[in-house]
Structures are given as structure tokens and as C-alpha cells.
């Protein structure tokens, strides 16, 4: 089977600002950087559990198959392929700029995005055939301090302190758990209000109360919640 089977409209041309100046003190670089706008949106990391252990227990045909199945399950079913910024081993970083969220095929609100991610984690957890997929953990944050920039020609990337915070949130995640920042949760609540749905509608009803944490390298205390599949 090919990977072209699910056809979505072409991705929007979100192209990173390419930063490359040979003069370290270039005044042009300073002006260029000052002019780069922020790209608000939703950042999430999805980490596939147990894959490192598998690599020591079996060969590529086993762990490669499970990673293939799990990545397909996560990205193709959820209209995420165009939003994968990068993958490092068994963790992927995704970013959906606000402008793109509203043009998505599968979801157009933060609430719907959360519902899809929750369903994905829950489907993997409850899948009745063993050895097909690997369990996941997820962190999600609504970002404002993010820049769509790259230092490598032709690459697309996002940098900023909110990306760092999303990565920090992952330290609170365990298998089958979604950790969401309070800022993302507030967006979800706004969507539910706009849709005239109850505050605890759908998977939102399973979200925990608020936790607080001082994450390493983050000056402010971060508020977050957890959602277990």
C-alpha cells in the first residue's frame, strides 16, 4: 500500500524565514531579525513509548513495523502530515499555525484538535490486536512566542520559548497521557463556549484539575492539566 491514499487539499505555503548571514555583526541581520513576526499556533510533541526497548530486543523488521504503523496512525488519520516539523527517533514535533488550523480538513478548532489527538491515543490503547502499535504520550501548548525561522536552507522550523515549554511539558507525560498547558485548555474552553457545548463536553470531561510546575529553564510557573486515555 502506498502512503498517498488519503488525499487532503494541498498544504498552505508556510515557509520559514531563512536566516543566514556570514558577518556575525551584520546590522542587516539585526534589522532582519527584528522584522520577523511571531507565528501563533499549537505545538505538540508526540512521543512513542517503548520503541527504544524494542530496538534492543528485536531487529528492524519488528520495531520498524510498529513505528511505521504508529506513525501512520498518528499522522495520516489526523491530517497531520503537513504539520510534522521534525522527528527525532521516536518523538515527533508538530506545529499548526492558527491560520492553517481554520483551513484543516479534519478539525478547525482547538477543541476538535484535542478530541482527535485523544481519540488517537485512546484507539491505540484499546486496539484489540496486540503488537500492532506502540503506546504514545503527548504534550500540547498554545504558543504565541514562536517564530517560523530556520538556519538551514530549504528547511522549515519553529523556534521560540513556547516550543521549549511544550518540550518541558512532556516531562509530565506517561504512556497514554496527554499533558496540556492551561493556555491551550483555555482555547479549548473558548471553542466549547462558541459551539454552545458544555464546559465538560466530550474528552474535555476527562481532563484533570490544574497542576503547577516550575520547569527547568522557564522563569514563570507553568499551569497544566492532564488527560488520560
Amino acid at each position: 500500500m502506498t502512503r498517498s491514499i488519503i488525499r487532503y487539499p494541498a498544504a498552505l505555503p508556510y515557509m520559514a524565514h531563512y536566516i543566514h548571514f556570514t558577518d556575525p555583526n551584520s546590522p542587516e541581520m539585526h534589522r532582519f531579525l527584528e522584522g520577523i513576526p511571531t507565528t501563533p499556533g499549537t505545538c505538540f510533541f508526540i512521543d512513542i513509548n517503548k520503541s527504544t526497548d524494542l530496538k534492543y530486543l528485536g531487529g528492524l523488521p519488528d520495531w520498524g513495523r510498529k513505528l511505521n504503523n504508529t506513525f501512520n496512525f498518528i499522522s495520516l488519520l489526523n491530517d497531520f502530515p503537513d504539520n510534522i516539523v521534525k522527528g527525532i527517533g521516536d518523538e515527533i514535533m508538530l506545529y499548526i499555525p492558527d491560520g492553517e488550523l481554520r483551513r484543516k480538513h479534519t478539525f478547525t478548532t482547538y477543541y476538535q484538535l484535542l478530541e482527535e489527538i485523544y481519540s488517537t491515543v485512546d484507539n491505540i490503547r484499546n486496539f484489540p490486536v496486540p503488537e500492532m502499535f506502540l503506546p504514545c504520550k503527548v504534550s500540547i501548548h498554545y504558543c504565541t512566542e514562536v517564530y517560523n525561522i530556520t538556519f538551514f536552507k530549504g528547511a522549515n522550523d519553529y523556534y521560540g520559548r513556547d516550543i521549549d515549554l511544550t518540550a518541558r511539558l512532556m516531562t509530565k507525560a506517561v504512556e497514554n497521557r496527554i499533558v496540556l498547558s492551561e493556555r491551550f485548555y483555555a482555547r479549548v474552553q473558548n471553542d466549547l463556549a462558541d459551539l454552545n457545548l458544555p464546559e465538560r463536553y466530550g474528552c474535555v470531561g476527562k481532563i484533570s484539575g490544574k497542576f503547577m510546575e516550575q520547569f527547568r529553564g522557564v522563569p514563570e510557573i507553568t499551569e497544566y492539566r492532564i488527560l488520560d486515555a
Partner: protein, 110 residues
């Protein structure tokens, strides 16, 4: 999305028309759970009119399958459109559901 159900001699048949996603999965969830709670454990879902399903839609079908399996019943699907078949294949769902090409064949299997 429209969900309708029809009682047949061998099973109940549910027809889904339109997209099944986060905006409406609760409609199908309510219908399936109502039937299961009523003791119906032979359910066939006809997907000929369903042109899209997201992860949240798949989750409801999986939930129904698990509940009916526990009660020793049968939960089957039929008449999937090509694009839906592809989604079921990639998600591994073809391995866990009984899927029939037509409603007639599916009903006979109950």
C-alpha cells in the same frame, strides 16, 4: 451526518450518511449505546453513505465492537466507500472488524 436504524430479523442495521468526525461523533455514540443498553447485541453498520471518518469516529466504532464482543454478540460493517476502506486498512481496523461488501451479504452472516 445522519444516523438511522432499522430492525431486521437477524440484526439491527444502522445507516450513517455524511462525515463522522469530532463535530458529530456523539450522535453515533448515543445511538449505538442506546441500542446496546437495550440488549441489542447483533448490530450491522452500513457505511455506504459515509464519506469521511476521523479518529474520533473510529473510536466510537471500536467502543461498540468491544461492548458487543463482551456480550457475545456480533458487530459488523458493510458497504464501505473506497476512501473509507483505505482509512480502515491503514488504521488496522480491517483486522478487527467483520466487513462485508453488501448489506445483503452482511445480514445473511448474522
Amino acid at each position: 451526518m445522519e444516523v438511522t436504524d432499522q430492525k431486521k430479523e437477524r440484526c439491527s442495521v444502522i445507516h450513517i450518511k455524511g462525515r463522522l468526525d469530532t463535530t458529530n461523533y456523539t450522535v453515533l455514540e448515543k445511538k449505538l449505546m442506546e441500542l446496546i443498553d437495550r440488549g441489542e447485541n447483533r448490530l450491522l453498520v452500513n457505511l455506504s453513505g459515509m464519506d469521511y471518518v476521523s479518529s474520533s469516529g473510529l473510536r466510537i466504532l471500536l467502543m461498540a465492537l468491544k461492548r458487543i464482543t463482551v456480550s457475545n454478540g456480533k458487530f459488523a460493517l458493510c458497504s464501505l466507500q473506497e476512501n473509507i476502506k483505505e482509512i480502515f486498512e491503514i488504521s488496522g481496523f480491517t483486522n478487527i472488524f467483520e466487513i462485508y461488501d453488501t448489506e445483503e451479504t452482511a445480514v445473511k452472516s448474522f
